[in-house]
């Protein structure tokens, strides 16, 4: 095989049009291998459509998508990825052991020992039928199937959404540990912004079918400031704020304005500034779909060459 591509995902002008309009539009970015990436956006933003194009379930209308340098139009891409849909579709009448056998028979790179270890560490009985398992146990078996495939890229659609807090904590830990152990690149959609903050080191933000933000969290989040100060001017937001900085979102309360900005230079002393959390930045972008997006150089197709290891 040739040199492995440093990019787990490269999308160029990717779009999908349904009868009702564009679900995904003009989406261009790349994700370096080895990251745990959050795919964030409100419902209907295009997250599932994007995951569909990456798993060959959705045929893009425009553009191209490559995974590890292989175009998704090539079926060879399938053995390098694993996808876990939100409802974790498993055969309810199969036992856990039969489900793993299915994985073994269908996947050339199958790692039975790994799949069994994941099942066993949750004390899930191999003889139990899938339909009788709890939500947490079913998710664990689905993870065993996904990791047993030994994928280079794991795509997850809302993996923890139907789990109780205990199962969520346990399975998030499992996901992170296995990804770390095998160097798996992970892309997961989620609405749990505060949890994503510790788990993910890369961000893709979609809103209304368009890419709003892409890049490493440690680069994107610190590029923002929360500013508060005395309201002035017509709409309360000081002219200077709009002129010198990029305003993502602004709010007026009485005589005070507060705004999320990308500073274009030093901020005057009269204003209070605070470093926002990832959740605060994401909420700002999700509330303001018209604000200018932020794509880090590294995430641009024409960005600097190879990703630093």
């Amino acid at each position: 095989m040739s040199d492995p591509s440093p990019w787990a995902i490269e999308a160029e002008g990717l779009g999908k049009k349904y009868r009702g309009g564009w679900a995904l539009r003009d989406c261009s970015f790349r994700l370096p291998a080895g990251h745990i990436c959050a795919l964030v956006g409100p419902n209907g933003a295009g997250k599932s459509t994007f995951l569909g194009t990456a798993t060959r379930l959705v045929q893009p209308t425009t553009g191209t998508l490559k995974l590890f340098g292989v175009p998704v139009s090539d079926p060879a891409v399938l053995e390098r990825i694993a996808f876990l849909a939100q409802d974790k579709p498993l055969y309810p009448r199969f036992t856990v052991a039969e489900t793993l056998r299915l994985g073994r028979e269908l996947n050339p790179r199958w790692d039975q020992a790994l799949a069994e270890r994941i099942v066993r560490s949750g004390n899930v009985p191999f003889t139990a039928r899938i339909g009788t398992l709890s939500g947490g146990q079913r998710t664990r078996v689905a993870f065993a199937l996904a990791f047993g495939k030994r994928p280079e890229l794991l795509l997850l659609d809302e993996p923890m959404s139907d789990l109780d807090p205990l199962a969520r904590h346990e399975l998030s830990g499992l996901l992170m540990a296995e990804a770390a152990e095998h160097g798996t690149t992970v892309l997961m959609s989620s609405h749990m912004l505060s949890e994503m903050e510790v788990m993910c080191d890369y961000l893709l933000v979609l809103a209304e079918g368009r890419l709003r933000m892409a890049g490493q969290t440690e680069e994107l989040i610190p590029a923002h400031l929360l500013v508060t100060g005395v309201a002035e001017g017509d709409d309360g937001v000081p002219e200077e704020l709009r002129r010198r900085h990029t305003v993502i979102e602004a709010r007026i309360t009485g005589r005070q304005f507060s705004a999320l900005i990308r500073p274009g230079g030093p901020v005057p002393d009269g204003w209070e500034t605070l470093a926002p959390s990832m959740e605060e930045v994401l909420l700002g972008y999700l509330r303001s779909p018209d604000a200018p997006g932020l794509i880090a150089d590294e995430a641009r197709l024409d960005g600097p060459g190879k990703a630093a290891a």
Binding site: G173, A180, D201
Partner: protein
């Protein structure tokens, strides 16, 4: 088995990698980590705290830069230096002097916050930005 477990406070506003760096330094000062101990692997940290493995590796690189740990390829990251100092006679004498000083402060009528402010201001003078 690993010797320490990290606790990540998501609301502290301190970057996660920095929290790990500080907790290792603290453990070294307290002596709960000593030379030769192996730090938990990035996968172990991820399993218990959900922290992204690249974040843990970044913290370990920082600790390595400070000369506190060293990676041994294939084996893990090991503590190469300890920060704990044995309590010496000098420590005991200084402690006694501080106790006497606080006794005087108390008789002068300073309350807890006055003393704290005074100590902090002298501390800042002698050890800027600790």
């Amino acid at each position: 088995m690993s010797v320490v477990e990290f606790r990540i406070d998501r609301r502290s506003g301190v970057a996660t990698y920095l929290q790990i760096v500080q907790q290792v330094q603290q453990a070294l000062r307290l002596g709960t980590l000593v030379e030769g101990d192996r730090l938990p692997t990035a996968a172990q940290v991820a399993a218990t705290t959900k922290v992204n493995p690249n974040t843990t590796l970044k913290a370990y690189r920082e600790l390595e830069r400070e000369g506190l740990v060293e990676p041994r390829p294939g084996l893990g990251t090991f503590v190469s230096r300890t920060l704990a100092r044995p309590t010496s006679a000098a420590d005991a004498r200084l402690r006694e002097e501080l106790r006497a000083w606080m006794g005087r402060a108390h008789t002068e009528g300073l309350d807890r916050e006055d003393v704290r402010a005074l100590v902090n201001s002298v501390l800042q003078e002698r050890y800027p930005d600790g």
